[in-house]
Amino acid sequence: MMQWETVIGLEVHVQLATQSKIFSGASTAFGAEPNTQACAVDLGMPGVLPVLNENAVAMAVKFGLAVDAEIPETSLFERKNYFYPDLPKGYQTSQMAQPIVGPGQVEITLDDGSTRSVRIHHAHLEEDAGKSLHEDYHGMTGIDLNRAGTPLLEIVSEPDMRSAKEAVAYIKALHAIVTYLGISDGNMAEGSMRCDVNVSVRPKGQAAFGTRAEIKNVNSFRFVEKAIAFEVERQIELIDDGGQVVQETRLFDPERDETRGMRTKEEANDYRYFPCPDLLPVMLDGAYVDHQRALMPELPSEKRHRFENQLGLSAYDAGVLASSRAMAEYFEAVKDVCGDAKQAANWVQGELSANLNRENLEIDDSPVTAGQLGGLIQRVMDDTISGKAAKQVFQALWDGEADSADAIIEARGLKQVTDTGAIEGMIDQVIADSPVQVAQYREADEAKRGKMIGYFVGQVMKASRGTANPQQVNSLLKQKLDQA
C-alpha cells in the first residue's frame, strides 16, 4: 500500500483589536445595530479618502517582531478587485507585492512536548468586508457593512505542516502570540481568527507537492483538525481510484463533517491587483521598529522557557501555564503571594482549572482571585491547615463565603492543632477508649502495624474534627502504641 504524506499551509486572518477601522474613524465594536458603524469611507462614497490607522500598523509590526520576521522599510497597499455586495468599493484594500511583515517563523509545540518551527511566508494588512445575511428579505439579501473596513492581519504560512495536529498546534501558537501581544481578542467563535487551509497529499518521499485544495473559513481548532482529516481521506481515495485532485476552493460543513467543492467558476479569479492611488507608501524606519519592540510583553515561548529554567517547573507545567496570557499572569500572581512556584502551579492546574472547567469559566472570570489562592497556599505551607482542609477552604472561597482563606479557616475552625500537648491528650483518650484494638496492635508484627495504625489516626482526626496535623498524629501515636 502506498504511503502518503500530507502537506498543509495555512492562511490565518486575525482581526486586530483596534478601536476604529483601518482606514476610517468608525468604531469596530462587535454587535452594534446593522450599518451604524459604517461611515462614508467604509461605504466607498465618492470623494472620500482612506487614512491609515497607526495602531493597525503598530500591531502588525509587533506581530512581525514576535515571529522573528523582517519588517521592510517600505510597504504598499494595493487594490484587489472583485464584485460582491458586501464589498461596497468594488475592491478590497490589501497588500501583495510589498507586505508589512516579511518572512518569519513560529515555534509550535506538539502534544508530546516536542517543538518545531513553521515558516511564515509573510503577513499583510487588509480590510475586512461586510456581512451578507441570506435570510429571506422578500427574495433579497440583507447587507450589514459594520464589519467593512475592520483591520485584518492575514498571516500566510509556508506549506510546512505535515499533519492536522501540527496545523492545530500552529494555530494555537498564533492564537497565543496575538492574545499575548493584545493585538486581537483571538475569539474564533466571533470570527476574530478565521482560517483557510491548503491541503495536498503526495507519495511519501516525493519532492514535488501534489495539487492542493483550499478549504475556506474553518473557524475552530477542532474544525481545522476535522476538515483536514476529511480532506486528506478524500484526496487519497480520489487518487487511489485513478482520479486527480483539482485545484479548487472547498467549504467545510461542520454539521456533516465534510468538505464540499464550491460551485466552480468558469473563469479563474482575476483580481487585477494594482497599487492603491489613495494610499501612499508606508515607511517604517529602524527607530520606529525598535520603539514597537520595546513595547512588547514577554511572549509565550519566552515565558515557557523562563518558567522551566528559572522557576523549576516541568516542561509540561510550563507549557500549560504559558499557553494563555491570562493563565500565566494568574499563576505568577499566585506564585508571588505564596512564594512557591511548584505549589502555585499545582493549584492553578489542579483545583482551580477543575472548577473552571466544571463551570465553563475563563480564568479571568474565576471567583477565586490569585491573591486569595496565594493566601490559601501560604496557610498550607506554614502548616496552619492540612491539605484536606485546604480543599474545603478553596471551595468556600469559590462559593464566596468570605474574602480570604484566613477568614474561612477562622470561621470554620479549620486551624490545624499542632500543639503536641493537645494532640497527646486526644491520643491518650483514643487509646483508653480502644483497649481491644490496642491489644491487637501490640500483638501484631511490624509489617501489619503500619496498616493497623490507620484506625487510630482516623479516631484521633475524628476527635479533632479534622484539625490535628496528620503527620504529627501519626508519629505521636506510633510512639505511644509502640511504647508498652
Partner: protein, 95 residues
Amino acid sequence: MAIEHADVLRAAHLARVGLSEDEATGYVDDLSRILEMVDQLQAVDTQGITPLAHPLDATQRLRPDEVTERSQRDRFQACAPATEDGLYLVPRVVE
C-alpha cells in the same frame, strides 16, 4: 501589442460594464492605440529601477486610533434603493 475583441469583452465583464458588440469593436481600436503607447514605454530600459508605487514623493500619514465617526445610517440609507431593519437590501446572492 494588439488587443482582440474577446479581450475587450473580458475586461468589460471583469469591470461589470455592459457593452454592445458595436461598442466593443470601437474599443478594440481605442484600447489598441493606448497599448501601442504602452509598448513605447516598455521599450525604455528600466533595469535596476525600483517600480514607482505612487507619483507623489511623500509617505503615508498615519491617523490616531480614535473613533471619530457617529452613525449617519439614515442619511446614507436615504439614497439606497431598498433597506429593511437597518440592512441594505440587494438582489439575492447565492453562493
